[in-house]
């Protein structure tokens, strides 16, 4: 099974896991690594890599909360040291984590999987106005 690791500032990553659990129930091979106050890049990189290696998975998808930030930078560095074939998706949202957790191992390549997950995440970012809601039903509210 493809391992999934969510990396974030503070406890956001664990929050994603809690939210996935609330919606879809407990998932295997789904992990959280949060950058703690005072933690350095090297330690964070090691914790992400250890998490992937300990999973024993052949493939891993790593999410990070913000492109260019330390969790994403550390995850990017870990790509070069882990055993598993691993890719990184930045700018994580709940739709992306849910889609990834529930649709892994469909036989597609890891890169195709990651691209599909990015699509799911992007599709869920929407603007909803009163007009949007009125238009959805057709009738005036």
């Amino acid at each position: 099974m493809t391992a999934i690791v969510v990396c974030s500032h503070a406890e956001l990553a664990q929050g994603f896991l809690d939210a996935v659990d609330m919606i879809a129930g407990g998932q295997e091979q789904l992990f959280a690594v949060g950058l703690q106050p005072g933690e350095g890049l090297q330690d964070l990189t090691r914790r992400i890599a250890d998490c992937i290696d300990r999973s024993g998975a052949e493939k891993a998808l790593v999410f990070a909360d913000l492109f260019g930030a330390s969790p994403a930078n550390a995850a990017a560095m870990s790509l070069f040291s882990v055993q598993a074939e691993t890719v990184l998706v930045t700018g994580v949202n709940l739709a992306a984590v849910l889609e990834a957790a529930l649709s892994r191992d469909g036989g597609e390549s890891l890169e195709a999987f990651a691209a599909r997950i990015c699509g799911a995440g992007r599709e869920n970012l929407r603007v909803v106005t009163k007009q949007t809601i009125q238009n959805a039903g057709g009738a005036a509210l």
Binding site: G40, A72, N73
Partner: protein
């Protein structure tokens, strides 16, 4: 011109990208670090992390020192980022025209570090480098983001 010389052991990261670069209207980042400059993975990860539209270079200390006059002559604001106070010291020792100011941002807590501020912990060699910088007339101050209070090394050095 060189607008800010900042020491931050995570170099280019979220706080740097979301706050420092816009607060100081930075158009050019120079990461000055011999280790990162010589490690292709680290170098490329930081180049990738830099915001698009901001010219970013990763240089060794001697390369940076040689470029200081040219960086000061640039029209856009330049940020020099170092990972360690020792690097700032080397830079000041070899680039005498460099503005005598060092901003220390977040520095991680590591074995045998002592907290200078809530977000900044320094090893003994780092404290020694700060002391030497201060003795050279460099104003060393601690600040993460400009909306937070600045702490001067001169006001806390007695604790070290």
């Amino acid at each position: 011109m060189i607008r800010l010389v900042r020491c931050d052991d995570r170099l280019i990261h979220g706080q740097c990208v979301t706050r420092v670069i816009s607060d100081f209207r930075i158009g050019h980042i120079v990461v000055c670090d011999d280790f990162v400059a010589s490690n292709p993975v680290l170098k490329n990860v930081f180049l990738l992390a830099a915001p698009s539209g901001v010219k970013t270079e990763i240089l060794s200390v001697p390369e940076t020192a040689g470029r200081v006059p040219a960086l000061d002559a640039e029209k856009q604001n330049v940020l020099i980022l170092v990972r360690l106070p020792e690097t700032a010291l080397q830079l000041h020792q070899t680039a005498p025209s460099l503005k005598k100011e060092l901003n220390i941002g977040p520095m991680s807590s590591r074995p045998n570090t002592k907290k200078a501020t809530i977000y900044c912990s320094l090893t003994v060699p780092e404290q020694q480098a700060v002391r030497q910088l201060s003795a050279m007339g460099v104003r060393v101050y601690f600040n993460q983001v400009i909306t937070q209070k600045t702490v001067e090394w001169g006001d806390i050095q007695a604790q070290f």
